[in-house]
Amino acid sequence: MKIYDDLKPLESRLAALELIIGVCLSVLAMTFWYLQILRTDHYRQLSEENRIREAVVKAPRGLVLDRNRRILAENRPSFSIIVRREGITDLTATLEKIRRIPFLNIDTVVTGLAKYKSLPSHVPIVIKEDAGPDEVAFIEARRLELPELAVQVEFKRYYPSPQAVSPVLGYVSEVSEAQLHQSSFKTLRAGDLVGQAGLERRYDALLRGVDGRSREVVNSRGRKISELDRIEPTPGRTVMLTVDMQITEALRTAFQGKVGSAVMLDVRTGEILALVSEPSYDSNVLTGHFSREEWTSILSNPYHPLQNRAINNVHSPGSTFKLTVAIGGLEEGVITPGTTFFCPGSATIYGHTFNCWKAGGHGTMNLHSAIVNSCNVYFYQVGKKLGIERIARYARILGFGSPTGVDLTGEQSGLVPDPQWKKSARGADWYPGETISVAIGQGSLLVSPLQMAYHAALIASSGSTFRPHVLRSYWDATGQVFPNDPREGARAVGISDAVFEQVRDGMWGVVNQGGTGHRAAVAGRDVCGKTGTVQVASKANLKNPGAVSEALKVHSWFVGFAPLDKPEVAVAVFVEHGGAGGETAAPIAKTAFEAYFSLRDDRSKTAS
């Protein structure tokens, strides 16, 4: 038996030890009270944000059909390789892993990560589009080693015949930084795809649809465990165009590598049946998240294929403008159909000598023969009598100097010069000789091929045609069809039918009475038209007269309609450096007329 030890002094130390521990545990209990009672809403929200991910369910973009329901733009499933940024714990390690994957481009990944910094980290970033089956298998097989990479099925815009449709349809690519700041794109986020040109851009709101949303439960590695709820996307509307792809393709074939553009309009409705701009480009190359290598070849092409030459480019109208002067002269009464002028090959007006294109002169010309022969001297005289103000007024009434209002992007106004314009734009007074130049379509006049086709349609319809347009109708998933009403934007012309009839007769003669446009003639179709040849006299060419190059050749125009009685279609063809209008542009117009009439007859046969 041991002697009892005095443990009294130890008891207070024991108490101190117990107190320290007790205080610590009490503080911890208070911490939990703080976390679980006072801050519980805050942490509950954080835990919800942890587990619930909102994913965008992309709305499929609307289909685009031609007037015969041929598919011009559709959506094709494509495998994309994506990066989930929330799954990245060590960026350098992830980049190193990606670097070792042969088919991924590390630069795309690095720039992508920088570009989409603003997006929430659960929004995946596409680092490769159109992954092949081997590449998809490669990524899928490495889900454990590469948890931050995944394969995602996306619907990618696809154009079955891209070269033929690109001038009208444009293309779809990622919304740009600048566009994101515009109000019309305010619902979009970086990385979203939008129409960037043509119809895709003009009707982006119709085609885009409304994205859906799904809320998913995810685990800490961002893997989807289940779906909480889902709002289905509203698909974009199906858009039917006025365009007839068969006519378009016939026209493209007729161009045979020439540079230029052509437009065919339905005179009765203003529908654009064909719009061609050559050279064209492959819109599939430009569509998507990334610009492919072919992008540079499109950009560096000296003929700028991205321009829609029918509406983005304006040129001097040349002799086709004589129709405007003729209409103005008749309507204003300064001439009658019987008024004659003598053409000796040149005329001296306001102290200057103006030449006719025919050196020996045409002799005595009335209105009809002056149009058929495109006699300059006749129109110098009419132009002088009309004066610039009235010429300009009729030019504007007949479709020039302002956009036609076509539903495509980037339409140019062109230019109808008058003294007021010259004063403000050039700071100089109009001099009378300029009026004479304008009367035969030279001088500062600028028109686009679409304006020219519209002009022809106005003449053909005695001013009753409608605004040119490419949208025929559209419908949504419910099947409700919304037709485009072309009557809005139709303009009052106020020129008598008899005047138009005189000019139409002249145009018939141009094609069918041995005139400059005889190469456009189609047997039995009474094609009417007018040719134009535009001198290319740039300073560069004048400095270097020895080089008779392609660039020195004149531009050629053909503008016309058919048939003479009850006109149906109007055409404008412009070939850059094509030579005389009658030689290059007129045969292309002929192809268009032939295509139109043979298709029309075929269809009426099958219909009946």
Binding site: I21, L28, F32, Q36, Y43, S47, N50, I88, S220
Partner: protein
């Protein structure tokens, strides 16, 4: 083996609360390991059973006999620690495991008990009111050797848990104030030295991230934030057993081991955390009560050192879960999944019960 008379003094409250916490532990491990392979809860349950057996053994043998054998245990543990340093299995970066007759065990866990017994033995016959440099030096040596060996594995977390055993023994033995100040200063200097020369980057990250976990939420602060989100989102009543999203969707790290208390907080809410903290307080209070009523100095030292050891684990781990202390990888007694650790905690309770049973002879 156990004298029937001794059972009269068995502390049923301590035993009961220990068993209760252990049952909660098995349930939490079961909930937390849903997304892992199965079998964790069953294993934890069997370790508790083994723990109960060794606990009964620990309370049966008179603690005086155990303390007398302390130097032998001490020597064996030092040898085992040296052995694992060279031949041990590496698990989660530390060479700390030894395989004995098919069982894997961590000598560093066993060292906790042995140190308590060794210091008990050392101070059993110490009759002065204040310790002197000699005693402090001796304690530093006794604790220092296994501490350095464990730290070298490297398992800094376990090594640190040896300190409260030494600290409580010295405080009980009568620590002069100037020594206390001196030791704290020395400790700070060693910490600074370790910070600049010894600690590896991941260890530093873990220690600093608790100060501002939001600074690098995806990096070293991630675990701390996720733990706080789990606990805080539990609210008053919790999300329900096995319904914790932070745990189920794997946002919580080490949820069946070091962060098991986060699972409790998320699924059972403030009610659950308070209940378990209450049980812990009960265990600690009964531990100190055993020390207070010990028949002699040896009993007092043994019960107090082991109670301090248990309390230290609880405070450091729960503090880490609450995000107020750094992440150190110190497990939670009776709740965290782990064989050696669970067994050692049961042995500690067994020894406290041992002291209690053999209180003042009537």
């Amino acid at each position: 083996m156990i004298d029937r008379r001794l059972l009269v003094n068995l502390d049923w409250v301590l035993l009961g609360s220990t068993l209760l916490v252990s049952i909660v532990g098995v349930m939490l491990v079961s909930s937390a390991s849903q997304s892992l392979q199965t079998g964790f809860a069953e294993k934890q349950a069997s370790w508790c059973a083994i723990g109960l057996v060794v606990m009964v053994i620990a309370m049966s043998i008179d603690y005086h006999r155990l303390a007398d054998q302390a130097p032998v245990f001490y020597l064996l543990v030092i040898l085992a620690l040296m052995y694992v340093l060279f031949f041990g299995r590496i698990i989660s970066g530390a060479r700390s495991w030894i395989t004995l007759a098919g069982f894997r065990a961590q000598p560093s866990e066993v060292a906790k008990i042995v140190l308590a017994l060794m210091l008990t033995k050392y101070f059993a016959e110490f009759r002065q009111n204040r310790v002197s440099a000699r005693e402090i030096g001796a304690v530093a040596l006794i604790v220092g050797i296994p501490l350095l060996l464990t730290a070298a594995q490297p398992d800094l977390g376990t090594a640190v848990t040896f300190l409260p055993i030494a600290a409580s023994a010295l405080i009980l033995a009568g620590m002069p104030t100037r020594w206390l100040v001196g030791i704290i200063c020395t400790f700070l200097m060693i910490s600074l030295f370790a910070w600049f020369f010894l600690l590896k980057d991941y260890q530093k990250d873990r220690l600093t991230s608790f100060i501002s976990p939001e600074a690098d939420p995806k990096g070293s602060g991630y675990h701390s934030i996720q733990s706080r989100i789990a606990v805080g989102s539990g609210g008053f009543t919790g999300k329900g057993y096995t319904q914790g999203t932070q745990s189920r969707l794997e946002f919580l790290p080490a949820r069946h081991t070091d962060f098991v208390f986060s699972v409790l907080g998320e699924e059972e809410g403030f009610v659950g955390t308070l209940a378990v903290l209450g049980l812990y307080m009960l265990i600690i209070q009964r531990g100190f009560s055993a020390a207070r009523h010990a028949r002699d100095r040896a009993g007092l030292f043994l019960a107090a050192c082991l109670t301090s050891l248990i309390a230290f684990h609880i405070i450091i781990n729960v503090g880490m879960v609450a995000g107020v202390l750094p992440i150190t990888g110190i497990p939670l007694p009776f709740l965290s999944y782990g064989g050696s650790f669970t067994a050692v905690m049961f042995v500690s309770v067994g020894l406290i019960l041992n002291v209690r049973m053999r209180k003042t002879v009537n």
